[in-house]
């Protein structure tokens, strides 16, 4: 795989802050890969996602370079972005159809009617039940999981080659999380897209990412093939993250089995 984007010595400092949110990041995003950016609060993982997408707020100081093999990408056209909270990324007063069509109309030059057809096609692809009806629904009429499906449809409507998902399941319950991850995985495979998936959950990432990059305190701690990093973490921090994972096979903290 060739590098879609070569990131060198990337550093970001938000306005009014003395500490860098991100520093000395060297990382290649490979075309067609599924890369998980993993970190806890304050690790800089979301800043990284925003820097990559060109979505940093005004006044953020950026140093270093992002070299794109296919030229400077346009947000919305070449890069789709899915946020943590679908309620915040969807406009409450626009219909689902209008917002899914918006990116496609703007970037692909579609007519109103073509835009609606594209929105319908996208709602089908993200498995919204009764997509023709959903076109005319408003965000508040859908569940959180369905809203995130709509946000994904909107992010992909203009056929971007890169999808960046910033904690797309953290505001959802775990049953819905499984469905959304499966959906992203399916769409990325089908479309031959590159996926950058930001998460705090190393176990979630281990289920589908080709590569993982572990962030801590604004620095890139470790990167490598998912299986390799999980089996043989090089950094003590990665090992600690793995050790603190809790699932149903982890011994309980209570001492008695029941009463």
């Amino acid at each position: 795989m060739t590098a879609l984007c070569e990131i060198r010595q990337l550093a970001v400092t938000y306005r009014g802050e003395t500490m860098s949110a991100l520093k000395d990041i060297d990382l290649d995003i490979l075309g067609g890969e599924r890369l998980a950016i993993i970190g806890e609060s304050g690790s800089g993982k979301s800043t990284f996602a925003r820097a990559l997408a060109g979505l940093l707020p005004d006044g953020a100081a950026v140093a270093g370079s992002l070299r794109w093999s296919a030229g400077q990408p346009r947000a919305g056209r070449d890069i789709g972005f899915v946020f943590q909270d679908p309620s915040a990324s969807l406009n409450p007063v626009l219909t689902i159809g209008e917002q899914v069509a918006e990116g496609a109309r703007r970037h692909l030059g579609l007519s109103r009617r073509q835009g609606e057809a594209r929105a319908l096609e996208m709602l089908e692809r993200v498995h919204i039940p009764d997509p023709a009806k959903a076109l005319h629904a408003f965000p508040h009429q859908l569940s959180g999981g369905q809203r995130q499906r709509v946000a994904i449809a909107a992010a992909l409507a203009a056929r971007p080659g890169l999808l960046i998902a910033d904690e797309p399941t953290s505001a959802l319950d775990m049953v819905v999380q499984v469905e959304i991850v499966a959906l992203l995985d399916e769409l990325v495979r089908e479309g031959g897209m590159t996926l950058v998936f930001v998460t705090h959950d190393i176990a979630l990432a281990s289920g589908f990412a080709d590569r993982v990059a572990i962030f801590r305190d604004g620095m890139l701690v470790e990167t490598g093939a998912t299986g390799k990093v999980l089996a043989k973490p090089q950094a003590a921090y990665t090992a600690a993250l793995i050790a603190s994972h809790r699932d149903l096979a982890t011994p309980p903290l209570i001492h008695e089995a029941g009463r």
Binding site: E40, S41, Q141, S143, G144, G145, L172, D173, M174, V175, V176, Q177, V178, H200, D201, I202, A203, L204, S206, G207, T226, G227, L230, A231, A240, L241, I242, S244, H245, R246, D247, L248, A249, T250, P252, L253, I254, H255, E256, A257, G258, R259
Partner: protein, 262 residues
């Protein structure tokens, strides 16, 4: 000893011209010193139940006996006094506090309101409570805004145990925390239970969290409890589709030759 006895709770909401049934004949019991994990997806009714038990929303039908009393019949000053016995810790509950509040004032409030310790002793009690949740006494002077999420949740726990409750309702109390902090807060809750015999009703969509701390687990779906039993049984052999979905949804570390191998 049964501390909490809930029978046939119903709760409906009007939403957009429709009636939504949030709770439909919910019954459960909780013993002193026990943790009941209440699992369910979004919209299953588990948070409604938490809010109803803490008397934040009224029930439409059903009974709740808590400590032998008719809990839903209490009102006014009587309810305020009894609230000391059933506390709550919700997800980042202190995030909604006045940002000018200090850690000390947040913990001292319930001591004053419920007259737990005389005024002269409150500073010492605040220090003791901070110590019990693993924070230095000097934190009392800090602004609630200047502490991390994990510390804030410890402070919420300190505030909850200040009134020496028999029971705490925890609703997604660790969901917003990073994994390393989450483990420490769970350990703290278990230690406090072992010391003081507090009962917990622990509400979460994360079965891995409930598995860590629960003696029994009840699974909710569409306003009903569809399955309940000893934690190990519900997790090891889930019967209902809702319980199976929750078990299947817990991410496992893949690619590690591991302690979690099946």
């Amino acid at each position: 000893m049964t501390l909490l006895d809930v029978k046939n709770l119903d709760k409906r909401y009007a939403s957009g011209g429709r009636t939504v049934t949030a709770l439909d004949g919910v019954s459960l019991t909780l013993s002193a010193g026990e943790t009941l994990g209440l699992a369910g997806a979004s919209g299953s009714g588990k948070s409604t139940l938490a809010r109803l038990l803490t008397r934040l929303v009224p029930a439409d039908a059903g009974t709740v006996r808590f400590g032998g009393e008719d809990w839903l019949a209490l009102s006014g000053g009587e309810l305020r006094r009894r609230r000391a016995r059933m506390q709550m810790v919700f997800q980042d509950v202190l995030g909604a506090f006045n940002p000018r509040a200090t850690v000390g004032s947040v913990i001292e409030d319930p001591l004053r309101i419920h007259d737990i310790v005389p005024k002269a002793g409150r500073g010492r009690e605040v220090a003791a409570l901070l110590d019990r949740v693993g924070l230095p006494a000097a934190y009392a002077a800090r602004s609630i805004r200047d502490v991390s999420g994990g510390q804030r949740q410890r402070i919420a726990i300190a505030r909850a145990i200040a009134t020496r409750p028999a029971m705490i309702v925890l609703d997604e109390a660790v969901s917003a925390l990073d994994v390393s902090l989450r483990e420490k807060v769970l350990e703290l809750l278990v230690a406090l239970q072992e010391e003081s015999g507090i009962a917990y009703l622990f509400v979460s969509h994360d079965l891995a969290v409930l598995a860590a701390v629960s003696h029994r687990i009840a699974v909710m779906d569409a306003g009903r409890i569809v399955e309940s039993g000893p934690a190990a049984e519900v997790i090891g052999n889930p019967q209902s589709p809702a319980a199976r979905a929750l078990v299947g949804a817990v991410p496992r570390l893949i690619g590690q030759e591991d302690r979690n191998a099946v």
